[in-house]
Amino acid sequence: MILSRITAFLLAAAVVLMSLPMAALAELNLELDDPNIEPMPFAVPTFVAENAEASAFANQIARVVAEDLTGTGLFREISKDAYISTVTNFNSPVQYADWKAINAQALIVGAVNMNGNNVTVKFRLFDVFSGAALGDGLQFGGTTTSWRRMAHKVADAAYSRITGEGAYFDSRVVFVSETGPKNERKKRLAIMDYDGANVQFLTDSRSLVLAPRFSPTGDRVLYTSYESGFPKIYVLDVASVGRRALADQPGTMSFAPRFSPNGQTVVYSLSSGGNTDIYRMDIGSGAPVRLTSEPSIETAPSFSPDGKQIVFESDRSGNQQLYIMSANGGEARRISFGTGRYGTPVWSPRGDLVAFTKQSGGRFHIGVMRVDGSDEQLLTSSFLDEGPSWSPNGRVIMFMRESAGAGGEVGLYSIDISGRNLRRVTTDGGASDPAWSPLLK
């Protein structure tokens, strides 16, 4: 929305800095698939306020950048108390020796300028031990209300340059906000930044709502609501919060919707006469096409990133297992074969993995497997873990966890697909059914 203007600009200083001799052999790089990965120490001094109005943002933006990076579990921030130098001018040469002495492998330097409501943020990333800038300087423009997004953009650039992975901090999560005891639960749709900030409610608590899902551009949300008294699929426009019901067949119930990668098709479950099968619908015309015709339960469909295949769950074998079929239906091949029940499959944005919920041994797990069913890894275990959703770069999974009993609490967690860095996502009150947006534009 606001940050359409992202300008990369070369700094004159960069040329000088690049010509300095390489001081260390190691390049600034984190290999995320390395099982023995150690958090990389970094420093992010308070950004330089280029005018008086910018000073409030200069510190806040640097803090959010630091929180984004440390939140991955891949980076460790060096305390300001250890700093030998400070950064008072964005264009001053970096005192590498001072940062090396405190073992800051990466240094993030930024500056903030305010002009009325407009905020400009500049940043540079330095590989301290190589004594060189890593990539060009970047500049982001926005308004005072979008300063956190600019911070996420800075952190995204630093994360991507160091790890070689896609970015994900500048993203949002739509979820179900929950209040009240389990037998009188009130549920509302809400949206927030990926880190739990800027919560905004999208529906009131009058109707039960379930399992929201973003469109591929993040502008719309599909969800299931009992507004009519029966479960039915709605599509909501995030900007206007306007909603409409998708076309449905009288006497049936529909749920578990997801968008196709091009945003024009919805795949979902429809229950009729007690039997639940998978359908797809062109969102414009509202014409449904039946994709499965089995007496068993077929539900929780999710498209592959190329839109050609659908992974779903079915109990046709006698209990819940995962299957893949063509996006046009037809024969399905089973991909899960372990003991227990597998449900809620979600195809990763990179196309290589399927995340799922598994029930076995009286516990629930979030896991991943390759799309051919090999290399199953269970990442979590608890009384109830359910409903994985992928970060835009396919490295992190967010899911819901609920504890047992009358006082059981429900909240959101995230975990790296390596199984590291299980974290609670801060929400005010109960939360379930997270769905991660694509990276914002």
Binding site: K182, N183, M253, S269, I297, E313, R341, G343
Partner: protein, 172 residues
């Protein structure tokens, strides 16, 4: 569930043309909703009228229970549903929504589909007993509306249920 029962008892009050205010009836309804079946004795206890929805829910029994991840009717369930069918035949001015529910041991979507199976099993049985399909509608809540909230089989057994909720009107 509480609000559903309130709705039933408001309907009951209207049906009887009772002069008691709906608030009191709703109070009784909450007790019935908890499954006690022993409403406070008042001069206008709706459950004493065999043609009342309160009588249906408290005396005949408005629910049947299921084993884990199944929708097969038990013998006890069939007996309850046979009696439900008898009441519906004797009271043609009422229709019913059959709510299918699951316990919390299961994923959300699967449990919605399971609840649909359970409500349909009840609907089909009532139809087989001569109730017009046009008077019945099926609804699934999956695991969204547990009656009991402990995380033990004693609660789960009561949550795996299909509840026949009587509403005014000959068809839904």
């Amino acid at each position: 569930m509480t609000h559903t029962y309130k709705a039933i008892f408001v309907v009951a009050a209207l049906g009887l043309g009772a002069c008691t205010n709906p608030g009191n009836l709703a109070g009784n309804g909450s007790g019935a909703g908890a499954g006690t079946g022993t409403g406070t004795v008042t001069p206008v206890d709706p459950a004493s009228n065999p043609n009342s929805p309160a009588y249906f829910s408290q005396t005949i029994g408005d629910r049947v229970l299921f084993a884990v991840d199944t929708h097969t009717l038990t013998d006890a369930g069939r007996a309850t549903l046979t009696a439900q069918a008898g009441w519906l035949q004797a009271n043609p001015e009422y229709a019913a929504i059959i709510e299918g529910h699951a316990d919390e041991q299961g994923t959300r979507e699967h449990n919605l589909a399971l609840g649909a199976r359970r409500s349909n099993a009840v609907s089909e049985f009532l139809i087989s007993q001569g109730i017009a399909a046009s008077r019945l509608r099926t609804l699934t809540y999956g695991k969204e509306r547990p009656l009991e909230i402990c995380s033990a089989e004693s609660c789960y057994a009561k949550n795996r249920r299909a509840v026949t909720v009587i509403s005014a009107g000959a068809g839904v």
